[in-house]
């Protein structure tokens, strides 16, 4: 039985870092379900949010340790779904004609989706939510003929309230030892 873990990795921001991070997954043959990188609240620190499905927490911990061992990785956390608040964003491109003829308004309201643009030939919907929610809209729009679909990786906020800067101060102290 696999569990979804969200791994949050805080690193220096430089060329090649993503390769170093992903090589820790590759050598253990752990598939990356989704991956998002962005800046964090601390200047110069980049943040990776990586979703994996793994059976044993002990193996997730080993993976996190291997990541944290990398010289330019500051801190690694891993969480199950209960410990984070998370979202994904999905965009759907459908033929405008089909939408106009169908029950577009009802679908949009039911799914709390937004229209980003309406062009003569196509319309783009946006939906933010959990995987199941963006998937549900996908299925609702499928009869209209989806021209293009894209879903982002997960972004997640950790529920524990310690600031990253506090961890980093601790780390800097330990590094000076």
């Amino acid at each position: 039985m696999k569990t979804t873990y969200t791994i949050s990795i805080f690193t220096d921001d430089r060329v090649g870092m993503l390769h170093r991070v992903t090589s820790c997954f590759t050598r253990r043959k752990v598939n990356i379900e989704s991956l998002t990188t962005s800046v964090s609240e601390v200047e110069g620190i980049h943040r990776y949010t990586i979703l994996v499905e793994m059976e044993l927490e002990s193996e997730v911990k080993k993976l996190a340790n291997a990541l944290e061992k990398q010289v330019e990785v500051h801190k690694v956390f891993y969480h199950t779904e209960d410990d984070i608040v998370y979202q994904e964003i999905a965009l759907y491109k459908v033929p405008t004609e089909a939408i106009v003829q169908g029950d577009a308004e009802h679908i949009m309201r039911a799914h709390h989706a937004r229209i980003l643009t309406v062009e003569p030939t196509f319309t783009v919907f946006e939906k933010t939510g959990h995987r199941a929610e963006t998937q549900a809209l996908f299925e609702a729009l499928e009869p209209y003929g989806i021209l293009e679909f894209v879903r982002s990786g997960r972004v997640a906020i950790m529920k524990p309230t310690r600031r990253l800067s506090e961890y980093m101060e601790e780390l800097a102290l330990a590094a000076a030892n």
Binding site: D12, A66, L171
Partner: protein, 579 residues
């Protein structure tokens, strides 16, 4: 006030130190600043500006021209392992760089401090499939502790300082610095400041006294405590502390092959070698002890055998500098994270004087059985073909355990590690984790250069010798004094042993038709001899050791001898076979 004056002086020094120079010169000056006086390498197009500077600085920084870049890495490893300093190697871009990969992987898994400099095509050609362009950073990411591509000369001093700090600090490892050709030609204002910390990197976790106290309690109350030590002891220079702990608490101690020589062979509490071809007692007693104290070792699968049958009865204490090793293979009762010298110094005052005579005797009982069934016949055979074990025993008699023994990989390696005697630390140099055939000859050359006052014996099989045989050219050109002892069974012996035991003697591609090693030695002007008779063995080994300069001694040993004891693959340590 003092601090202010110091700061002012430092600023002044810094100003004085700033000099305009090329990136290539800066690279060489960085090496000199880091105390490097010897490096191993092979030139080529993309690294030529640095070589031009090496020519100018040859009085301060010696460069050994290897015959293949892999040889440079193993030589740098041998140098590092013998001397305790960072090994440095240098190669050109493309094939020069990719030829380094095996040695880098070897240094990674065996925690050897090494800095590898590779040339790279000019920045504007990156990604264009230019001549001799390989993305060496991407190729080496999984096998480096750290790596960086320099594309501007101004980056050189800070990157090189970081490279040496990362390579040598904490759990040491290899660092690759790839430098584009334009950065070698460009100029910079050079000033050098050594790196002492990196904010994201904890080289030495602080020792937690709570853990130390708990460990001391566990050790003091143990009835059958057992110490396993690895290379961490050597890397932390904690040999004296280990000895004190072992003696004070009266605990039998066994070693991994990477920890070999951290404790003298003849120490009464040194019970021998762990693992697949280790000694009988150390393996069997792993499943009898009540407290297992692992110091600077990582529970490699060759040591543990089947983890499901490994020390299940024992409470495990793990002294380890690398947090990712804790609970990686064997779950611990408690871990003391940190440099093991610091940790042992902290725990020693808390350890009660003790002895465990009855417990120690159980190891000695095992020794007797192993001696009768294995060791006697291996080291003192009365007749029949020469055996590897007797060669090593004769060598011990002549060196008294004072030599550095470098080994390759396979049967001869296991035999040498099992039977060689050591009095001093940093005397056993082998490819433990990666098992790299071809390691020995270049590593022995590097070891001799790292410890010029010591006798270096390269014990090599006929297979591994031919993997880096070209490095005989380094001996010819440099005159380095290495004793090459080929244990020739005309087989890839270890694979053949497995074929015999597990593949119904189907000897697929393991028998070797070898060249005349005597003629090869002569071609390189290396004194040589071939021994086939027992009666010639001792005198020939003596001749090899006493010869003024390198010597190649080829000993023809039995073709189908096996290394025992053996923990078969997939078996538990207690299922070790004596025959």
């Amino acid at each position: 006030m003092d601090t202010l004056i110091e700061a002012a002086q430092q600023t002044q020094q810094t100003v004085q130190k700033k000099t305009r120079m090329s990136g290539a010169e800066a690279m060489v000056r960085c090496l000199i600043e880091e105390g490097v006086d010897l490096m191993f390498g092979y030139p080529g197009g993309a690294i030529m500006p640095v070589y031009d500077e090496l020519y100018k600085f040859q009085n301060q920084l010696e460069h050994i021209l290897v015959r293949h870049e892999e040889g440079a890495t193993h030589a740098a490893q041998g140098y590092a392992r013998a001397s305790g300093k960072v090994g440095v190697c240098i190669a050109t871009s493309g094939p020069g760089a990719t030829n380094l990969v095996t040695g880098i992987a070897d240094a990674m898994i065996d925690s050897t401090p090494m800095v590898c400099i590779t040339g790279q095509v000019p920045k504007h050609l990156l990604g264009t499939d230019a001549f001799q362009e390989v993305d060496v950073i991407s190729v080496t990411i999984p096998v480096t502790k750290w790596s960086y591509q320099i594309t501007e000369a101004s980056e050189i001093p800070s990157v090189m300082a970081k490279a040496f700090y990362v390579a040598r600090s904490g759990r040491p490892g290899p660092v690759v610095i790839d430098i584009t050709k334009n950065a070698q030609f460009e100029e910079l204002d050079f000033e050098y400041e050594k790196c002492h910390k990196i904010s994201s990197y904890v080289a030495r976790p602080a020792i937690e006294m709570e853990q130390v106290e708990a460990a001391a309690d566990l050790i003091n109350s143990a009835k059958r405590p057992y110490i396993l030590f690895g290379q961490g002891v050597i890397l932390a220079e904690a040999e004296a502390e280990l000895k004190e702990l072992v003696e004070k608490a009266g605990i039998p101690a066994a070693w991994t092959i990477m920890g070999l020589s951290a404790m003298p062979t003849n120490h009464p509490l040194n019970v021998g070698m762990l693992g697949m071809h280790g000694n009988y007692g150390p393996n069997v007693m792993t499943n009898e002890c009540d407290v297992l104290i692992a110091i600077g070792m990582r529970f490699d699968d060759r040591v543990t055998g089947n983890l499901a049958k490994y020390a299940k009865q024992a409470k495990v204490i793990h002294f380890e500098i690398d947090p990712s090793e804790i609970d990686k293979n064997v779950p611990t009762e408690l871990a003391v994270l940190g440099d093991c010298k610091e940790a042992l110094q902290a725990i020693l005052p808390l350890i009660k004087e003790n002895s465990h005579v009855e417990w120690l005797n159980r190891f000695r009982e095992c020794d007797k059985e192993e001696y009768e069934k294995v060791i006697k016949g291996e080291t003192n055979p009365r007749d029949g073909e020469l055996r590897m074990g007797e060669v090593i025993r004769e060598l011990n008699d002549l060196t008294d355990g004072d030599a550095i023994v470098v080994t390759d990989v396979g049967q001869h390696q296991m035999i040498a590690c099992r039977y060689a005697h050591f009095n001093k630390t940093r005397s056993n140099i082998t490819s433990g984790g990666l098992g790299t055939m071809g390691f020995c000859l270049p590593a022995a050359i590097g070891a001799k250069m790292g410890a010029p006052d010591r006798t270096v014996v390269a014990v090599i099989g006929d297979g591994g010798f031919q993997m880096t045989i070209e490095e005989l050219g380094v001996i010819l050109q440099s005159g380095v004094n290495v004793k090459i002892l080929i244990l020739n069974n005309s087989f890839l012996g270890m694979v053949r042993q497995w074929q015999q035991l597990f593949f119904d003697k189907r000897y697929a591609s393991t028998e070797m038709v070898n060249p005349d090693f005597q003629l090869i030695a002569q071609a390189y002007s290396i004194a040589c001899k071939r021994v086939e008779e027992r009666s010639d063995l001792a005198a020939s080994l003596k001749e090899m050791l006493e010869h003024d300069g390198s010597f190649l001694l080829e000993v023809v040993v039995g073709k189908e001898n096996n290394v025992f004891p053996m923990v078969p693959s997939g078996a538990g340590v207690a299922e070790i076979r004596l025959e």
